[in-house]
Amino acid sequence: MRREPPKTAADYAPLAFPALMLTLFFVVPFSIMIAVSFFRRDPAGFYKPDFVLDNYARFLTAFFGSVLGFSLMLAVLVALCCVAIGFPFTYLLTRCARRVQTVWLVCLLSVLSLSEVIIGFSWSTLFSRTAGITNIFVALGLMDEPVALLPSFGAVLTGMVYQALPYTILVLYPALVRLDPTLLEAARTLGASPVRAFFNVVVPALRNSIVATLIMVFVFALGSYLLPQILGRPQHWTLSVLITDQAIYQSNMPFAAAMAVFLVLISLALVGLTLLIGRREEAS
């Protein structure tokens, strides 16, 4: 079915409500935040309207630079882990019987109903010395005595991957379900082993879906705020944690706003770069 492009103002009418809501709850607050990032902090009160670049200048210190670097690294790592686990899993899932697929998808959806707080504290229990999984390893004779696996980077990574994995699978699922299974069979008749055919044919054929999923999980992980605090040490805290700290505990709204704007710009730049590289590869 082909639709006519909208022409008159009346054709655009259904857009009015979402446009209004977006303006009211996204464009306006975001603009205020950008404005505040140039304001001057007032230690006695809140902030004074002004136009200073101090907030951005302060950001260019080694400390904030390293926190930003860590946040980006963590988000990239979470995205890579999620796709590395989620893609083969989803591929195998789409090859299962309908009933099996439904059960798995319902289970994954139910994970989404868990709040970040519950996920965080559940993992902190699982990684603890007194009640954690190491007790099972001890019972199995794999370890001599239970140890605490947190706070640590591995714990942060595990928690965040766990949280993002259902989204990864749900985004990849439609693309993999639509994949023509004869592509893989064709590769096999041409002499590729099943594993080789998977990497030679399935992965490249779905490159766009994989890139889109990586970007989605990256952005999702970049905003992570609770899990690094519950499962990690202070050096594992992300920029989001620092922004909250500045905004709420230090009452330095302009600096928090500047950091938030900076984070958005960096994320947009990285996403843009990924898309640009993808397009150039496609053209060549």
Binding site: D180, T182, L183, E185, A186, A187, R188, T189, L190, G191, A192, S193, P194, R196, A197, N200, V201, P204, A205, R207
Partner: protein, 345 residues
């Protein structure tokens, strides 16, 4: 023995028996068409030959060596899929050379082979084009070239021409047959189009409900179908009930057909008479009389439908031998006994 031999192969999907005790032997260089309605098991049989499905029981052997348990990627059979399954992210040349790349052939070797194959399929200079920019017929040829890249021992095609329009399909049938003859490669094609099978095959295997109903050269299947199903599936036929009257005569629709004998001990039978064998004669001059209900003049051929004894008999004639009949006219129908095929009813 030399060639492909399929021995008592059965494939069960749950309660459904897709292929039921099929045995077939295909000598080297033969062009075989597996023909049948959808769901008759022909594609499943082809996929078992390719190694994409495992037989529930039975063996498949090539040149005397059992290949039943050999995985697909070690069989070295070329296969063209109904969807063609060209790799969308690769160029035409990279699609064709994929099998060579997997075997670690050198770049020059790959380029040489791609050029040769593109010349073979009449698409020279197409190596660098993206697959998405090709027309249906071109994609078809590329899929064929890709399957032939390693000079396979067996060339398998699953409804390869079904996506093409009628005119292109007819041209590709001829081209595919000529290609097969030039290469002398053993080829097995799955199709539901009897015209396609008649055009290309040395051996037509008619399947129904998972079994082989008849395996014979196409003209033999057309002239001497094994049963009413085969007769109806290959070409158009008039199926008429016939019975012996006990006095040595054979009655068709209540009239005796002189010169027609049912085999000894057979009291009732079905008679298959091809429309081009039915003669329209003056009333009373043939075995049956009837009324012309419709005349379809297609220019090249004229089809005449005659109503008699509750059934409609179709006769086909060329304009040169055009019977001068019109709708509503009373005519006689002559059934030459030598062109009547007696089938068990």
């Amino acid at each position: 023995m030399s060639g492909l031999s399929i021995d008592a192969v059965t494939k069960q999907f749950g309660d459904f028996r897709a292929v039921d005790d099929v045995s077939l032997s295909v000598p080297h260089g033969t062009f075989v068409c597996l023909l049948g309605p959808s769901g008759c098991g022909k594609t499943t049989l082809l996929r078992m030959i390719a190694g994409l499905e495992e037989p529930t029981s039975g063996t498949i052997a090539l040149d005397g060596a059992d290949i039943t348990g050999v995985p697909t990627h070690r069989r070295n059979f070329g296969m063209v899929f109904q969807s063609l399954a060209l790799f969308p992210h690769l160029s035409v040349g990279d699609n064709i050379s994929y099998a060579l790349r997997i075997r670690g052939a050198s770049k020059q070797e790959q380029r040489k082979r791609v050029e040769d194959l593109l010349a073979l399929i009449h698409l020279p200079g197409f190596a660098d084009r993206p697959v998405a920019k090709l027309s249906g017929g071109q994609r078809q040829r590329v899929a064929i070239a890709r399957a032939l890249a390693l000079s396979p021992k067996l060339f398998l095609l699953d409804e390869p021409l079904s996506a093409l329009d009628a005119k292109l399909r007819e041209a590709m049938q001829v081209e595919l047959r000529q290609l097969q003859q030039r290469l002398g490669i053993t080829t097995i094609v799955v199709t539901h189009d009897q015209r396609e099978a008649m055009t290309m095959a040395d051996l037509v295997v008619v399947m129904g409900s998972g079994r082989i109903l008849q395996a014979a050269p196409p003209i033999e299947i057309y002239r001497r179908p094994a049963d009413a199903f085969v007769a109806g599936f290959i070409g158009i036929t008039n199926l008429l009930p016939a019975d012996a009257d006990g006095a040595g005569r054979t009655m068709v629709l209540g009239h005796a057909v002189p010169g027609l004998k049912l085999p000894a001990g057979m009291a009732k039978a079905s008679l298959s008479v091809r429309p081009e064998d039915v003669r329209i004669v003056a009333p009373g001059a043939g075995a049956l009389d009837g009324t012309v209900t419709f005349v379809r003049d297609l220019g090249g051929t004229i089809e005449t439908f005659v109503q008699t004894g509750g059934t409609t008999i179709m006769a086909v004639a060329t304009p040169r031998e055009r019977p001068d009949v019109s709708v509503g006219q009373q005519v006689g129908i002559a059934l030459p006994p030598e062109s009547c095929v007696v089938l068990k009813s």
